[in-house]
Symmetry: C2
Subunit: 294 residues, 2 copies
């Protein structure tokens, strides 16, 4: 990664972390609940979704301060989803990013409630954003609730659980990924572009990029699980195959997956150019993310 | 209950049920998820909160069609909270209103996700309301997220769990009830009055009524657990004492609890008169609810 991009990511990450921390810490929330919420918020995420949103906003000439509360709201939703996904009744994970998961650190009841609280606070955060109009807030909450709820992420999580251990088609697999992770990534780009002032045509092009980005991410995840460097990834490779998960390499082979990914990357870049943001940090960032090694 | 009130309740209940059913059924939600959401939505609630909201709106001359989506959104939040509260890690209840709880009917993962989906859909519902302005939506979602999240209901649920088996003060008990049930009841009245066009002074009086109503409800619940009719209640009396729960009768005695409740009822009625809605269905309804026998 070049230094300019690395500085950019670090700076945006700090802004997101600071806003998240100040916002939650500043609310008179019951201490035990706040502690559990902040534990998962501080658990070391890369803040990919908020940074993509900020980069999209900036690409269209928007101010990153306007977009920050929405970026933070999206990160709250992402965090709540990880807390609930880790629960014993769901994926039953004890560790995440090298630390005990929320329900292992506290208890299951607290983890469920911390998740509920972060989900609810996400919408409150947007309502309290200073630099957005009421119309913008309504548009954004409508998009965010659609992307993250029964028509988006939550459905994807249930489909994923239901498909476990079953042989599924590539189409079905793509549908799961689209709902489970694609919709929030897509919201990140769309919301950023919208707040940044993109035209309707530009929004449509960004929507295409966003949809492709969701798939690209998943193919890259699957490829890294087969061919990645365990040290860089911080987790063992080959776990998808051990868990009999349907993946791109299991369906298309490693070479086929790489070809497929490159095809999507080319299309995503072309949509970005279509939206006149071919020469921006957003473009560099998406190019970088498509080739990440961890 | 007089016939006019009983007709009123039945009619409003039908409107709420129909809207809820049409709205959720009409969305292209994953079948297994939709089935679980609708199971709890159809589980026979009295729709008390939505009806209070509609009555408050009508008391100030508002149109019940304007308020209906918000009333339904509140019922979704109430329903999600019951699903999550019943989970094994929380209150671990197998039955609710004579039927298996959501996680017993389906499984824990589905119940957690159905709850998450209803919570998220609640905000989406308000965004999609046809007869509200963007400013109204922003005000309402801000109030609803505050009342139901980390500063309201979710905190109340955690405090309640933390206090189990401990001797707590009356003040602490009232704080739990205020957060766990009072805040949503209060939102019901406030939102209805707001949409109905209440003035700021009237809203303040309604807020006082609403806060009192939350406490009145809880005292009445506690009184019925000691002295109610098992058949009418549909559940055994005396369970609070068996479970060593802190209640009004355990702190103030039965007579003392009744006196305390009547004191609050008088104040609640006086606030309603203050808001010029002393001669409305809302007044009759609150009077009735304060003396309910199940």
């Amino acid at each position: 990664m070049d230094q300019a991009l690395s500085d950019y990511l670090e700076q945006r990450q700090s802004m997101v972390n600071e806003y998240l921390d100040d916002y939650i810490t500043g609310k008179p929330i019951l201490t035990s609940l706040k502690t559990s919420m902040l534990y998962s918020i501080h658990a070391g995420g890369k803040r990919l979704r908020p940074i993509l949103m900020m980069a999209a906003c900036e690409a269209f000439g928007g101010n990153k301060k306007e977009v920050l509360p929405v970026a933070v709201a999206l990160e709250m939703i992402h965090t709540y989803s990880l807390i609930h996904d880790d629960l014993p009744a769901m994926d039953d994970d004890d560790m995440r990013r090298g630390q005990p998961t929320n329900h292992r650190k506290f208890d299951e009841a607290t983890a469920i409630l911390a998740g509920d609280a972060l989900l609810t606070l996400s919408f409150q955060t947007i309502m309290e954003a200073e630099h957005l109009t009421a119309e913008q807030k309504v548009y954004l909450v409508h998009e965010l609730s659609t992307a993250s709820g029964a028509l988006g992420m939550v459905a994807g999580q249930l489909m994923d659980m239901e498909s476990e251990g079953n042989k599924i088609s590539l189409e079905h697999l793509e549908q799961i990924h689209h709902l489970k992770t694609g919709r929030l990534l897509s919201f990140a780009l769309m919301a950023g572009a919208y707040i940044g002032g993109a035209s309707e045509d530009q929004l449509n092009s960004i929507k295409e990029t966003a949809d492709l980005l969701g798939i690209i991410f998943q193919i890259q995840d699957d490829i890294l699980d087969v061919s990645g460097n365990e040290e860089k990834l911080g987790k063992p490779v080959g776990s998808d195959s051990t868990n009999h998960k349907s993946t791109y390499p299991s369906m298309l082979g490693l070479e086929g997956s790489i070809t497929q990914k490159e095809h999507y990357v080319a299309r995503a870049k072309s949509s970005l150019k279509q939206a006149d943001v071919g020469e921006t940090k957003l473009f560099t960032l998406i190019d970088h993310l498509s080739n990440r090694d961890h």
